[in-house]
Amino acid sequence: MEPIISIKPLLAVLASLLVIPVLISSSDRPNIREGWTILAGIVKFSIVVSMLPAVLQGQELVYTLFSFVPGVSIKFRVDSLGMLFALVASFLWIVTSIYSIGYMRGLKEHSQTRFFSFFALALSATIGVAFSANLLTLYMFYEILSLSTYPLVVHHQDEESRKSGRKYLIYILGASIALVLPSMIVCYNIAGTLSFSSQGILAGQASPAVLAILLFLFVFGFAKAAIMPLHAWLPAAMVAPTPVSALLHAVAVVKVGVFSIIRVLTGIFGIELLSALNLGHVIGYIAAITILVGSLIAISQNELKRLLAFSTVSQLSYIILGVALLTPKGELGGIIHIVMHAFGKITLFFCAGAIMVTTGKKYISQMHGLGKQMPITFLAFFMGSLSVIGLPPTGGFYSKWYLVLGSLQAEQLPLLLVLLTSSFLNAVYFLPVVFKGFFAPVPSEGVNSHYQEAPAMCLYPLVITGLISVGLFFYPDLFKNLIQMSIG
């Protein structure tokens, strides 16, 4: 079908960009400022949703902005895969904005205008990545995302933030400039175009050795996907305020990383080419290593946010593994894990932040017995962790199920074992948090341990995302349909 030319993708990107001057000018009236953020989020989500019917019918919406060299331009294209990512990201922005209000005010954070402005910019970039029609546009928004999240990561402006900020930049910016940029240009020289197409653009254009090298450069170059050994920035970035950690490192930044890799795997290389070159297995094993090692390190963590960070490192490679299996079920499992993990992880981070706001605690060992005083929070945490572990009745089970089926379909028994082992490990580090929270005795250190439940603005979002994590088990069809359309 002919793609429809529509300005909506551009509008979706601009929705949060244009609100930034408004935010800056209302910096001394916080309620109005926050109201604008939420309004922008709703507008963005509505624009994205408005494009959904057309996409579900198999149409694509395109919009070309600036053309550069022949075959490359700054261009938007809304297809089913991009729509999936954009839906998740824009919905979660609304939820996170509400949560941020509660968190930032609860902790009386400074520079809130800067925080919300760069948040909006980061979301613009995320939607830009989702709707990119070619590698250049994707690279552009990827870099804008890196730059706009830096002020968010170093928000606290202390020594620890400084070091983490440096690590963040070195890994993410360094990898993208050193690895992705030359590969992208080589790709253009080989193929004459950079547009994502369903069969990939590199088939038969260069020798297998060159293609293999290119593939590795891309996979490691998109360091936002936190594939080991380029993962160290993610735990370091936990110094950021929790809403930043929640959205960006559980949903936007890391998902942009895996999304970019998926686009490269399916749109630049193409599934057929990867199978022909047997490269899927190699990527699969690289992902498998990250899955296992990430889970193992997570077990040893005492600080809750770092545990969650290593869990994310591990879970992201599930997504890569799924796509690298190169089978329809594997791809379905991998891509839908983007959605499931997003909702599950964000719930977990919201809970961690809620605990921080209410009690000031960040170490798991301090949280014994806290569940009795913050039951809703811990219950949501339980739901989120079930989803990440992959147990019913949460959405995570759905993605894990398809990953297992996919690895059987690809006849990769070692990878199947890795998946099962890792799920077990996930349980090992998540469940104790919940059980100790509910059932362990409260440590009596003379500290006033009368805590109330988290503030309302923090509580509602985490309940919503927790419920959605469960709901996705029963109603995954929307996303499943979108994915099956993109797999073709």
Binding site: F66, V69, I74, L136, M140, Q157, R162, L169, G174
Partner: protein, 501 residues
């Protein structure tokens, strides 16, 4: 009026300079408006000329009607036209942006400064527009003299010596160039660029022509501060008055790059440079070293302005390497980078000038907390820094694209690695500055201790004229980047396809 545009471009600033110096004894307050008017007229002129060239091809102008090779000819094709526009626009915007800082730094000598400024621009425009090799030397020296004098008006302690060192090296450079022209004259009997390029076709193998080429090149390289001939640049640009460094940094070296491209491709011709001589690999190697050396030296600096001057040295490496790679993509990248680098350097120095207007001392220790004190200036600085690192959609990315493409096409992986490495080092350089400016000298203490937003009283920004011009140039970085495709297609590509075999 149409055909007189080329000569008007030179005459208007020149006459304005003369009138301004006369006005110094008369009504002094008219000097500045006169200068602004002259440069505005020139800028409009250059754009009209470029439009004419894009529309109907190169424009020739014979001074006083004498035809070459005896007369001096001015020739505007796509390459010159673009560079003319860059020079005049940067000069005009700088004049407006620097009004305050000239008043602050050069209190009694503002009029003399403006006269020198106009003479400098006249010389530069002349260098770009002329098609006669000796005329180029003369105008080059006019430019340089105006530059020497301007630099000497800067920092009381260090500027005169820096300027004197620049005089010495500048004279060596220009004299080498003159020597090269002499050898060319011996062999061809002409001084006109087009004429010489025709005559040279039959004398390729002559040693005299080779000598001429080498002397011309080395002279130009001294003038453009190619490593290791760069020693004059850091001191001269750092200690010059703010308004001067803002005009010298973006333009002087880039116009020299233009001269090099002109000599290589229009006078000597691609066949000679790349086939007769086997030099291109070595020059690209030299350029790669220049890129890395400039970047590494920049890392060692503690003063913001000096760090930026070393970045200029690095960028010159890009330009020389790109021109000497000898393929379409690389040359396109070089020409586009002349435009982009002029804008980026201009934006950087505008921001730095704003900072020195308020802070006086630009050592790193002094810059803490600048993001909250001068947010608009730092925004412009950040955007320019991002552009130098080479991140889309700023313009720096797009010229890097072409340069990397050219390196890949030529199989010169060393240059490619140098480009990537310098992007990374630039990222380190700029984020180091951002860190210093972002992190106030607070101690342990989380932001949780802050019970309020930073009040407006913390902001001490530069005056509005400086901010508006900075924002304008920063916005142009984005605009030029996004419209790179159009610029390349309309202006650069036709020129490149005309000269590259």
């Amino acid at each position: 009026m149409n055909i007189q545009y080329p000569v008007l471009i030179i005459i208007i600033p020149l006459l304005a300079a003369v009138f301004s110096s006369a006005l110094m004894w008369g009504n002094r307050r008219l000097v500045y408006p006169l200068c602004v008017l002259a440069l505005a007229a020139t800028a409009i002129n250059t754009f009209l000329l470029l439009a004419e060239v894009v529309h109907s091809g190169p424009v020739n102008y014979l001074l006083a009607g004498w035809s070459p090779p005896w007369g001096i000819q001015m020739r505007v094709d796509l390459l010159n036209g673009l560079v003319l526009c860059i020079v005049s626009v940067v000069a005009l915007i700088n004049l407006i942006a620097s009004f305050r800082s000239v008043q602050q730094e050069l209190a009694e000598k503002t009029d003399s400064f403006y006269v020198l400024y106009l003479l400098f621009i006249t010389g530069l425009l002349g260098v770009v527009i002329t098609a006669d090799l000796f005329n180029l030397y003369v105008l080059l020296e006019v430019t340089s003299l105006a530059a020497y004098a301007q630099i000497a008006m800067g920092d009381r302690d260090r500027a005169p010596l820096a300027s004197l060192n620049y005089v010495f090296l500048g004279v060596i450079g220009a004299s080498f160039y003159l020597l090269g022209v002499g050898y060319l004259y011996i062999k061809t009997g002409s001084l006109n660029m087009m004429d010489i390029s025709n005559i040279l076709l039959s004398v390729y193998s002559s040693i005299a022509v080779f000598t001429a080429f080498i002397f011309c090149m080395v002279g130009i390289w001294v003038k453009m501060a190619l490593f290791p001939l760069h020693a004059w640049l850091p001191n001269a640009y750092t200690y010059a008055p703010t308004a001067s460094s803002r005009i010298l940094a973006p333009l002087m070296t880039k116009v020299m790059v233009y001269v090099m491209i002109r000599l290589m491709f229009s006078v000597f011709g691609m066949d000679y440079v790349f086939q007769e001589l086997e030099l291109s690999q070595h020059i690209v190697l030299l350029a790669s070293i220049a890129i890395i050396a400039g970047a590494v030296l920049a890392l060692a600096q503690n003063n913001l302005k000096k760090m930026l001057t070393y970045i200029i040295v690095s960028e010159i490496g890009y330009l020389v390497g790109g021109a000497w790679l000898g393929n379409t993509a690389a040359l396109t990248g070089t020409i586009l980078h002349v435009l982009n680098d002029a804008l980026m350097t201009f934006c950087l120095f505008l921001a730095v000038g704003n900072m020195s207007y308020k802070l006086k001392n630009l050592d790193f220790d002094n810059l803490q907390g600048l993001f909250s004190k001068m947010p608009v200036t730092m925004a412009g600085f950040a955007l320019a820094g991002v552009s130098i690192i080479g991140i889309p959609p700023t313009c720096g990315f797009f010229s890097k694209w072409f340069l990397i493409s050219g390196a890949l096409e030529a199989g010169n992986y060393l240059f490619l690695i140098a480009l990537i490495l310098s992007s990374l080092i630039n990222a380190i350089l700029f984020f180091r500055v951002f860190e210093i400016c972002l992190f106030e000298p607070m101690q342990a203490g989380h932001g949780h201790d802050y019970a309020h937003e930073h009040p407006e009283s913390g902001i001490r920004e530069a005056p509005v004229s400086m901010l508006v011009t900075l924002m304008l140039v920063a916005a142009s970085l984005l605009a030029v980047g996004l419209y790179s495709g159009m610029i390349v297609n309309q202006v650069v590509a036709p020129f490149v396809s005309g000269v590259v075999a």
